[in-house]
C-alpha cells in the first residue's frame, strides 16, 4: 500500500494533475495504429548500424580491455621489481666461490696461552 500514490493535500494533487497533463499520451486510435505500424515496419527493416553506434557499442568493452591491460602491466611490473629485489638480496647472502683468506694469528706462548687454554675448556 505504501507504494500507491498518496496525495497529501490539494497542492500536491494539483502538481500531480499538472504532471499527468504534461505527460499525457496522445489520444486517438489513429495515432496508436500508426505507431503500431511503424513498430512493425521497423522489425522487417534490414539492420543498419551507423558507425557511431558501432563505435558506441565498442567503447565499453574497449575501456574494460584497457583497464585489464593496465592492471596486468602493473602487476607484471611489481612482480618483476620484487623478483629483482629478491635476487639482489639472495646474491648478498650467498657465499661467493672466491677463496677466503683467513687471518692466522701466530700462536703465542707463555703464561697467557696456558690461561686461555684453561678458560676455553667447558665447565663440568
Amino acid at each position: 500500500m505504501s507504494d500507491h500514490l498518496k496525495l497529501h493535500d490539494e497542492g500536491d494533487e494539483q502538481i500531480t494533475n499538472g504532471l499527468r497533463q504534461l505527460y499525457a499520451a496522445p489520444s486517438g486510435d489513429a495515432y496508436w495504429r500508426d505507431l503500431e505500424a511503424r513498430i512493425l515496419s521497423r522489425l522487417t527493416e534490414p539492420e543498419v548500424i551507423a558507425w557511431w553506434d558501432e563505435l558506441d557499442r565498442w567503447v565499453r568493452p574497449a575501456l574494460v580491455a584497457a583497464a585489464i591491460l593496465l592492471f596486468a602491466t602493473g602487476v607484471a611490473m611489481i612482480r618483476s621489481y620484487q623478483a629483482e629485489r629478491e635476487s639482489a638480496y639472495e646474491a648478498m647472502l650467498t657465499p661467493t666461490s672466491l677463496p677466503v683468506e683467513t687471518a692466522v694469528r701466530p700462536m703465542r706462548h707463555g703464561p697467557d696461552a696456558a690461561f686461555r687454554f684453561l678458560m676455553s675448556k667447558p665447565r663440568q
Binding site: L5, R42, L43
Partner: protein, 198 residues
C-alpha cells in the same frame, strides 16, 4: 486530509486474454518465439501504449519516446528467444524499453548538449493552452535530475511501484524511493506560490 489513489499497472494484472478468440498473452509470446509475426504484432498492440508511457517518463520529448518505443520493441523482438514465457511479458518489455530510453537520453546528451535545457519535459501538443501551473511545472521539472523526473512521473503519473521503477531504471528500490521523496520536495518548494493560491 490525506487521500490515497491507487493505480494498478496494466501488466501486473493476470495475463490478458484476447476476448475475440480466447488466446492468452502467453500463447502470443510462445507463438512469437516460434517465429509468428502476427503473434508479435498482437503483443505490440497489447503493450505499445504502456511502453510509450514508460519511455515518455524517461526521455525529454514525445518524438524521443516514439523512437525509444520502436527501439525497445525491436530489441525485444530480437531477444525473444531468451525470454521465459512463464514470466510477465510486460515487465520484461518495459525494462527493455526503459533501457532503450535511457540509451537515447545518453546519446542525446552527448550530441545535443546545448539544446537539452530548452526541451525538458515539453508537452508534445497544445502549446497554446499552457496555463500558469503547466508553465511553472515545466520550468520546475528542469530543476530535477533526469532520474528524479523519471521516477516521479513513473510513480505519480503511471502508477508503477518503487520496485518496478528500480527494476526498469536499474537502481535499487530504496534509491527510487529516495528520488521520489526528493523530487516531490523539490516540486513543492519550487511551486509553493502556485500551491498556496489553490
Amino acid at each position: 486530509m490525506a487521500t490515497a489513489i491507487s493505480f494498478q499497472p496494466q501488466w501486473t494484472l493476470p495475463m490478458p486474454k484476447d476476448a475475440a478468440n480466447g488466446v492468452s498473452e502467453r500463447d502470443h509470446v510462445i507463438a512469437a518465439q516460434k517465429g509468428s509475426e502476427p503473434a508479435f504484432a498482437e503483443l505490440v498492440r497489447l503493450h505499445h501504449r504502456r511502453a510509450y508511457a514508460v519511455a515518455r517518463a524517461i526521455v525529454l520529448s514525445h518524438e524521443d519516446a516514439e523512437d525509444a518505443v520502436q527501439d525497445g520493441f525491436l530489441h525485444a523482438f530480437r531477444a525473444l528467444d531468451r525470454f521465459h514465457s512463464d514470466q510477465p511479458f510486460g515487465a520484461w518489455l518495459n525494462r527493455i524499453v526503459a533501457n532503450a530510453a535511457l540509451d537515447l537520453v545518453r546519446r542525446r546528451k552527448v550530441r545535443d548538449a546545448d539544446e537539452l535545457p530548452e526541451t525538458v519535459a515539453m508537452p508534445f501538443r497544445d502549446p497554446g493552452e499552457a496555463d500558469e501551473l503547466r508553465t511553472k511545472l515545466t520550468k520546475a521539472l528542469t530543476h530535477l535530475s533526469d532520474r528524479q523526473r523519471s521516477v516521479i512521473v513513473l510513480h505519480d503519473v503511471e502508477g508503477f511501484t518503487h520496485g518496478e521503477i528500480g527494476s526498469m531504471l536499474g537502481i535499487p528500490e530504496g534509491t527510487a524511493r529516495s528520488d521520489l521523496h526528493h523530487a516531490r520536495a523539490a516540486l513543492r518548494r519550487l511551486l509553493k506560490d502556485v500551491r498556496s493560491n489553490s
